[in-house]
């Protein structure tokens, strides 16, 4: 089976050279991007790289979190994500308190993902939940699995781009009939910052306990324990041990990944906006449609909406830089840990499934103004109500998706 990593590791090209080349490429591209738009593109390029590395190393998967809870009674992923949400909530709330010291004034902070709460939010969540289970991963999940060589994820990504552009063209209907009338409910405006954080953390805690209870109904799989290690003695051994904890083939725990992701998202929000990917993909999909004279952006009313909006214009935005960085980070992490391998699914119908799932996810990402990252992982910590409604939709949709895949080949 030919693999790209095998090609790159031909005799004569040592692995360390490949590693060095990837790092240098990342830094050069980052340097070039930092030079524009007051560092924003470069900053989000590096944020994206961190995002991709974290996802690939920890195998964190939002689709798996909901799906495996329902299908296998395994809540490890979801519990890790709930923990990440709690960490992000504290960080986001602190930043929001500086952006908007008086929340009762009636103006939401600019930057955090505080989407309007409406039918589109719920429909988007359910549709995304079904799509992500069919496709085997959410949007960011498909991106990092592309980096591991899963061809079904490449097909899913194509479906996502199609779904995004379809939704861009039908956005006006959703806007006029639902979105324009809805409030971007932000908890601090209703009850103040400290009660909001308390309520959100309590709700996350209750959800955590609920997942534990659900898992207790069948024997619970412990997290993989690390193999016992000899204590490091020399400076070199310490450094090697530190490098191994990042680069080991075993990867990181879900908890580590989720918390690291939360920290990266806090840093991102501190700069401008939290983590989000579908806005960037949506803009690119529209630019491609533009080659055929079928642009749909800018989305009606979107300049007044928060969330993972695509904006309009050229190819490079902070969302776009994030996506590029994610791909670079995930591919790089996968190649360096030797996990890249072209993987054809055994069942040919898997491709059709991935495509349909992708279209559903792409469409849902536009009407909910974000995906499992932008409308959930970045929305709940923003103290927005939308994230919870969307999350409920994800759970429902995932249940439907699981019922479907049990009946498909």
């Amino acid at each position: 089976m030919t693999t790209l990593s095998a090609t790159l590791r031909r005799p004569g090209i040592p692995a360390s050279a490949v590693r060095a080349a990837l790092w240098i490429a990342a830094v050069i591209i980052g340097w070039a991007l930092l030079d524009r738009e007051s560092f924003a593109f470069g900053v989000y390029w590096f944020i994206g790289i961190a995002f991709g590395v974290i996802l690939q190393r920890s195998r964190l998967c939002f689709a798996g979190a909901f799906r495996d809870l329902i299908l296998l009674g395994d809540g490890r992923l979801l519990r890790a994500i709930l923990l990440g949400l709690a960490v992000a909530t504290v960080g986001f709330a602190t930043l929001e308190a500086r952006l908007v010291p008086d929340p009762s004034f009636g103006v939401n902070p600019n930057g955090p993902h505080i989407q309007p709460v409406g039918i589109a939010t719920l429909v988007g969540g359910v549709a995304f939940g079904v799509g992500m289970v069919l496709a085997g991963g959410c949007v960011s999940g498909s991106l990092w699995r592309m980096g591991e060589g899963y061809l079904a994820s490449w097909v899913a990504m194509a479906g996502i781009l199609v779904g995004l552009e379809l939704a861009n063209h039908t956005w006006a209907w959703w806007y006029d009939h639902d979105i324009r009338r809805r409030s971007a409910l932000w908890l601090p405006a209703e009850i103040g910052f400290v009660p909001s954080v308390a309520v959100v953390l309590a709700a996350l805690g209750i959800a955590y306990l609920a997942v534990l209870w659900w898992e207790s109904r069948s024997p619970r799989m412990p997290e993989l324990p690390p193999p016992p290690a000899l204590p490091p003695m020399t400076v070199r051994e310490h450094l090697e041990r530190a490098w191994q904890s990042i680069a080991s083939p075993q990867g990181w725990s879900y908890r580590t990944g989720a918390i690291a992701l939360a920290v990266v998202s806090i840093v991102a929000l501190a700069y401008q906006v939290p983590l989000g990917v579908t806005g960037g993909l949506s803009l690119w999909a529209d630019n491609v449609a533009g080659w055929f004279g079928q642009t749909a952006l800018p989305l009606k009313g979107s300049d007044l909406l928060a969330g993972c909006t695509p904006g309009s214009g050229g190819w490079m935005t902070v969302r776009g830089a994030t996506v590029l960085g994610l791909v670079m980070g995930a591919f790089g992490a996968s190649w360096l840990s030797g996990e890249f391998r072209l993987r054809w699914p055994r069942t040919p119908s898997r491709f059709a499934q991935a495509a349909i799932g992708g279209v559903l996810m792409g469409y849902a990402s536009v009407i909910a103004i974000g995906c499992t990252i932008g409308a959930f992982f970045s929305s709940i910590p923003s103290l927005a109500v939308a994230g919870w409604v969307y999350g409920g939709g994800l759970l429902l949709g995932a249940a439907v998706g699981v019922a479907m895949i049990k009946r498909l080949p």
């Binding site: 799906r67 619970r220 993989l224 075993q250 391998r341 054809w344």
Partner: protein, 95 residues
């Protein structure tokens, strides 16, 4: 001996297909699952343990494993079995 080839499949298919195969397995038969998906090294034995099967794993190639599931004599101590599964999967993915 029934063989199940789930190479190239990503989650949840290895574990889900293994569970479906075990549920349809005639009594006394063993199931051998061929997979290249590292997380399956813990999820498939776990599904097996839930249904009363012992598992052993053979490394067939780089990133390729064969998981053999045999009906256990008598009840399995699930706690010990899960700990064993977790440790073995961690060791196998360290190489």
């Amino acid at each position: 001996m029934v063989e199940l080839d789930v190479r190239g499949e990503m989650c949840p298919y290895p574990a889900m297909k293994a569970r479906q195969a075990l549920q349809k397995l005639p009594p006394g038969e063993t199931l051998e699952v061929l997979t290249d998906h590292a997380p399956a090294l813990s999820t498939i034995p776990w599904e097996g343990a839930k249904l009363g099967y012992r598992s052993s794993i053979e490394v067939v190639g780089k990133g390729l494993w064969r998981i053999r599931l045999e009906k256990a004599e008598g009840p399995i101590d699930t706690r010990k079995a899960l700990e064993e599964i977790a440790r073995r999967a961690a060791e196998l993915t360290t190489s």
